[in-house]
């Protein structure tokens, strides 16, 4: 009886793993297809679709745009998030709870509605669609995240280190740059990394707020209009590979160093 339960459990786990991996395996496998349709039978392996992706100027420039938007918007998010988290954690401000709630409020609203709001506002104010507009939207979704992560990590022992630095005569900006930032580095990096991945993968805000110059998810979306296409498989597999490298890097650098 017990053995039967164990067997059922293992079979169930294998089935779920199968379900989780099925689309990814199909995606990567048929990115190596030699013929023009990513459907069985498999005719590869061939790298022709990867070649097609890398020689597609629209896709490569979209990739550069995505990286630029991700890095710059994440830098802005983490800077604004860190400064405000420090302000709220170290000083008593009137209406602090309300203001902190205001900063984290965008977390509860779907990206579609945030993008819609910005589209209506920019349209009314005559701001043209652009990568900058999309980047502004990405800061709106990532700032609350960075704030929440960094604010939650600002404990009392850090106050004491800062106080010691002040007592020894350090100016406020010196305390910030030489004490608080290094001490908070793991939380700051976690906020930056999460912002990067969310911005990198964000579709609907970029779709609404950019026009000619756009980001990679939007360009992949445009590829989908041509139906099933091994080129889309190849782009998808490349994005997957980049993400895996980032995750492994994050695992090895940040989480290993963290004291248990």
């Amino acid at each position: 009886m017990r053995a039967l339960v164990r067997l059922t459990a293992w079979l169930y786990a294998i089935a779920i793993y199968g379900f989780i991996f099925l689309p990814v395996v199909v995606l990567v496998l048929f990115s190596l297809q030699a013929t023009s349709f990513p459907i069985p039978p498999f005719t590869g392996p061939s790298l022709r679709w990867y070649q097609a992706v890398l020689s597609d100027a629209r896709l490569t420039s979209a990739l550069v745009n995505s990286l630029l938007v991700a890095v710059l918007s994440s830098l802005a998010s983490v800077t604004l998030g860190f400064l405000s988290a420090w302000g709220f954690a170290r000083f008593v401000l009137p209406g602090s709870a309300f203001l902190r709630g205001l900063i984290t409020l965008p977390l509860t609203v779907s990206y579609l509605i945030i993008g819609m709001g910005l589209l209506v506002l920019f349209n009314w104010a005559g701001v043209p669609k652009s990568l900058v507009a999309a980047g502004i939207g990405h800061v709106v979704i990532n700032l609350p995240l960075c704030f929440a992560i960094i604010y939650s990590q600002m404990g009392d022992h850090q106050i004491n280190i800062e106080r010691a630095a002040r007592d020894l005569g350090a100016a406020e900006w010196k305390v910030l740059l030489m004490i608080t930032v290094p001490v908070m580095a793991p939380a700051i990096f976690a906020g930056f990394f999460l912002s990067m991945t969310f911005s990198w993968d964000e579709f609907v805000i970029s779709f609404l707020l950019t026009r000619f110059e756009t980001t990679l998810p939007v360009e992949i979306w445009n590829l989908l209009r041509s139906g099933l296409n091994p080129k889309t498989n190849a782009v998808g597999s490349l994005v997957f590979a980049v993400s895996i490298v980032l995750v492994v890097f994050f695992e090895l650098t940040l989480l290993r160093r963290k004291p248990a």
């Binding site: 459990a9 293992w10 169930y12 786990a13 779920i16 793993y17 379900f19 989780i20 689309p23 990814v24 199909v26 995606l27 349709f37 990513p38 459907i39 069985p40 604004l80 998030g81 400064l83 405000s84 420090w86 302000g87 000083f91 401000l93 205001l102 900063i103 409020l105 965008p106 509860t108 779907s110 579609l112 509605i113 945030i114 819609m116 709001g117 910005l118 589209l119 209506v120 506002l121 349209n123 939207g137 800061v139 709106v140 700032l143 609350p144 002040r166 406020e172 993968d201 579709f203 609907v204 990679l216 998810p217 992949i220 989908l224 889309t232 998808g236 994005v239 997957f240 993400s243 695992e251």
Partner: protein
């Protein structure tokens, strides 16, 4: 340690103002703009409530909301039912030192792009895709089934995503549970089934509710999965919103529909929050 008086009062505000200003300018203000827009006529621009009354009187708009709620409800229930036993197996049956790896593997496809993941399901479910070929190959069916561009495809794509998400949250929940609860139940003579039903399940229920709420919010607001996998056969609310902008440039109607969608999420939140509090009391 005190800095000069005026300086120490100005500093905290200098720190928090940029973030507050950003939130006001690019989150609160757009929301107000959307509210104004939703009360404006598309043609002419006068004040009107027609955009809202259109939703409540036009059955095809209602239908989109019903579709959204049905799809979201189905996805939430199926995802929890699939994820709970899986998280349980990972937490209880996989040896401690392999758990981290097992979990990383379970959420690996999380890291593909969201658009690409939906597209991958299209590959799997297409007319000549892997599933149809396999079914025909084994002789179960003679003609390929219509799997893509159906509600089934939308639900499958969503469930794939949310099983990963819920496995993470439920796993964390199960690990936080102190083993002494289970030992106590066993000492008092409860078998594994009773222990689970009367001790473990109730204790992990708040975590499940949080996961269910997260699933609900993310699922009902998503445009990508229903658009790629469900096609245009039956629309859900985000598709209806995007359609007003894309095809007709009707910002006022799109704004009104967005606000209605947000209201539904807020109602769900209030219902969920109340329910959670009762559970904890």
């Amino acid at each position: 340690m005190s800095v000069s008086g005026s300086n120490s009062r100005a500093l905290p505000w200098a720190l928090v103002t940029p973030a507050l200003a950003w939130t006001c300018a690019f989150f609160v203000l757009p929301f107000i703009a959307m509210g104004f827009s939703s009360l404006t006529a598309h043609e002419g621009g006068g004040f009107t409530i027609a955009n809202y009354s259109q939703f409540f009187t036009d059955p095809s708009y209602w239908r989109a909301m019903v579709n959204s709620l049905e799809v979201t409800g189905t996805v939430t229930v199926i995802s929890i039912l699939l994820a709970y036993p899986f998280a349980w197996i990972l937490a209880e049956m996989v040896p401690e030192r392999w758990q981290r790896l097992a979990l990383i593997l379970a959420v690996l496809p999380f890291w593909t792009s969201y658009v690409v993941r939906s597209y991958s399901w299209l590959l799997v479910l297409a007319q000549n895709g892997v599933v149809n070929r396999a079914l025909i190959g084994t002789g179960l069916i003679a003609e390929p089934l219509q799997l893509a561009n159906t509600r089934l495809a939308t639900v499958t794509g969503f469930v794939h995503f949310f099983v990963m998400l819920l496995t993470l949250t439920i796993f964390a929940n199960l690990k936080q549970l102190s083993p002494s609860y289970r030992k106590a139940a066993a000492d008092l003579g409860a078998g594994p089934v009773r222990t689970f039903l009367h001790v473990v399940l109730p204790l992990t229920l708040p975590g499940i509710m949080v996961g269910a709420f997260l699933t609900f919010v993310l699922c009902i607001g998503d445009y990508i999965t229903p658009q790629i996998l469900g096609g245009n056969n039956e629309l859900v609310m985000p598709q209806l919103v995007m359609m007003q902008i894309g095809r007709r440039g009707d910002f006022p109607l799109a704004s009104a529909l967005s606000i209605i969608l947000m209201a539904v999420v807020t109602i769900a939140y209030l219902a969920c929050a109340r329910w959670l509090k009762i559970e904890r009391a």
